[in-house]
Amino acid sequence: MPLMVIDRRTFLHGFLGLAGSACLLAIGHTKTALPLYAGARRDQDGTFSASLFNASGDVQRVSLPARGHDVAVRPGSQEVVVFARRPGRFAVAFSALKTIPSTRFFAKQGRHFYGHGVFSPDGKLLYTTENDFDNGVGIIGVWDATNGYQWVGEFSSHGIGPHDLALLDDGVHIVVANGGIETHPDMGRQVLNLAEMNPCLVYINRLTADLVEKVQLSKSLRQLSIRHLGVGKNNRVVFGCQYKGPSGDRPQLVGIHDRGQEIKFIHAPNDLLPDFKNYIGSVATDRSGETVAASCPRGNLIAFWNVANGKFLGHQALKDGCGLAPTNQPDQFLATSGEGVMARFSADNVTRLRTDQVHWDNHVTFVS
């Protein structure tokens, strides 16, 4: 596309906030059976929603008051909870079963959600990453899913700016990515502690709230914010980072951690690393837990590694691609993009499924 002049209508269109993407062209649908997924998005009319969907389209859709972020799946049901993007305070539980009404709940006063949550294995409790913004500390909120998502308690995330969290397969320990970035809703999304960032990965016993293990990055990487998590085979935790340091730096952005060990970074090729633009938007492990995918929406690509040995497997292009979730097939992922694309990806293959006139948000989640 050539550079172009802005005509008045286009310019005012942007001013009025009515802009839709000019690039949302359907590329044809492939009627392939998809399992059920969930994701948040901005719709064509500029409003926000979350949806449970399969290959045929939406199974259930719920309107959101503002932009959503990630979705947590309640085990043993087709119910999910979508969270507000930070610094939002709302969350909405809804089900694929149309007979079950949605439930909206809000972070406590003085807290906002970071956009991620995880359920206990029995589906009774929901754990959410939250910001106690007046005190500048991270919180894990606990909500009773059996009682309309009543707030039942909270405990420390043992760090600042908890973002993603995941449950290990013992069902007891949760791993939390404390991104290390302090923000306050009164200051928008401004980083308040750039010079004092201290990201960490922590393991917490969800039953006792005890800190079990805390691992930090080296001092030279203190501006490398740990943001998103996946759990691979043998509880190997895979994480993706966003670098807040000088833009000329090119640190590795994807790492792995085994309990009791040091953090290790798995390497992308040096000639590809600049294309990551210091920004991983989402991380997911495949069904087998042996392959990890990381999306780089600023770099318009998705990269793949072997979880066990850290070997780089390849990358695929997807413009503004960010959402990643496992499919029923090993080594394969469903990916969604801000341009409405939905496709199946592996390190060596891409199958475009559909393109809708929506902007899929950062994450997509496998439901069943």
Partner: protein
């Protein structure tokens, strides 16, 4: 293909009509560096050097007149910093220079507490040596620390020659000169960042093509306007007129809060204009040109109305009518940014990623 009317400014700057996209992007990068970034940091360097001299004079000959002159020079330095503060890439970002130059926002007052402790105890000799000060907390070595020295310690500054607070202030000013020198040098013609911005190559670590360079400039504009609204103006309003938060404004202690907001906007507007983005608005569309000019004018008139009455930020956000003007300024800044953000990206064919721009 470039349409003949695309870039009005290129008619004046490019030697050959029918410039390619690559040439247009190259001009945008060059003009940004040569007409905005370098002059901006040179001005900051000049003002910092003057500030250091004024501090020396004040320490050697403390007097109310010298203090006033030093405070005036402090204001000029702060405004020079605000003008170029939106440049979020390059040497000012390296080694925490930006935070060291001015530690703000200091939401919990941790930085101010640390500075006050130094001033109260007058024992920490490490703050009197520039090299050592540079290695201390970012909160105690920049403009925000100097503001406390100059505007909340006047009696101590005037009590004797070379008092501890004055020497501390002098050392801060020396540190500012050092940082400004480093940044000016860092934007020199043979530096890596300039080389990569002007001649991006696929194997570069920072910019691999010209579009990435212009994307960086675009981000500085869009995030700058967003910061101006979200971080500079809006927090000061507080939850209601009964509960305004004037101390959330940058440099409120020195009474510079409104001037700083204006300077920040001036810097952004200058970048929009000299980078070439402004010229993407068609010169022949009178209504559109008039619209943008009108928005700027409204904002400036609002700020000027505060200035004419010699109002400080606390007056503005706690008075109903003035607060209304202030809220309109904030709304107009958001309005401008919405227009610029989408349309500049479209015009320059930059990615307008839903997830990429300000993701999570």
């Amino acid at each position: 293909m470039i349409r003949f009317f695309i870039f009005f400014f290129l008619i004046q700057t490019l030697p050959v009509a029918g410039a390619t996209n690559e040439e247009i992007l190259a001009v945008m990068a060059r003009q940004t560096i040569e007409q905005h970034i370098r002059p901006g940091y040179l001005q900051l360097q000049t003002q910092s050097v003057r500030l250091h001299k004024k501090m020396q004079t004040l320490c050697d000959a403390p007097s109310p007149a010298n203090l006033t002159q030093t405070q005036d020079q402090f204001a000029k330095t702060v405004l020079a910093f605000s003008f170029i503060e939106h440049i979020h890439f390059g040497p000012m970002v390296d080694f925490y220079r930006r935070e060291r130059f001015a530690y703000w926002p200091d939401r919990k007052g941790r930085g101010a507490r640390a500075v006050r402790k130094i001033l109260r105890l007058e024992k920490d000799q490490t703050v009197l040596t520039a090299d050592k000060l540079a290695n201390k907390s970012v909160a105690v070595q920049g403009l925000t620390a100097l503001e406390l020295v100059l505007f909340q310690n006047q009696d101590k500054l005037l009590r004797e020659k070379n008092s501890f607070p004055c020497r501390y202030g002098q050392t801060i000013a020396q540190n500012l000169v050092t940082i400004a020198n480093q940044v000016v040098d860092g934007w020199g013609p043979k530096t890596d960042i300039v080389h990569q911005m002007l001649d991006p190559k696929p194997d570069n670590s920072r910019y691999r093509n010209r579009k990435e360079v212009v994307q960086e400039i675009y981000q500085a504009i869009v995030s700058g306007f967003q910061v101006l609204h979200d971080v500079r103006l809006k927090p000061v309003l507080g939850k209601s007129i009964e509960r305004p938060k004037p101390k959330r404004a940058a440099f409120w202690r020195s009474g510079l809060a409104i001037d700083v907001m204006q300077s920040y906007l001036k810097g952004l507007r200058h970048l929009v204009e000299v980078s070439g983005f402004q010229n993407m608005l068609p010169a022949n569309d009178v209504d559109l040109q008039r619209h943008v000019a009108m928005v700027y004018k409204e904002i400036n008139q609002g700020f000027q109305s505060f200035e004419q009455e010699n109002l400080n930020i606390a007056d503005v956000v706690s008075h109903e009518d003035l607060r209304g003007v202030y809220e309109k300024i904030a709304a107009r800044i958001t309005h401008l940014n919405a227009g610029f953000a989408r349309n500049f990206a479209v015009a320059a064919d930059l990615p307008l990623g839903f997830n990429a721009l300000d993701g999570d």
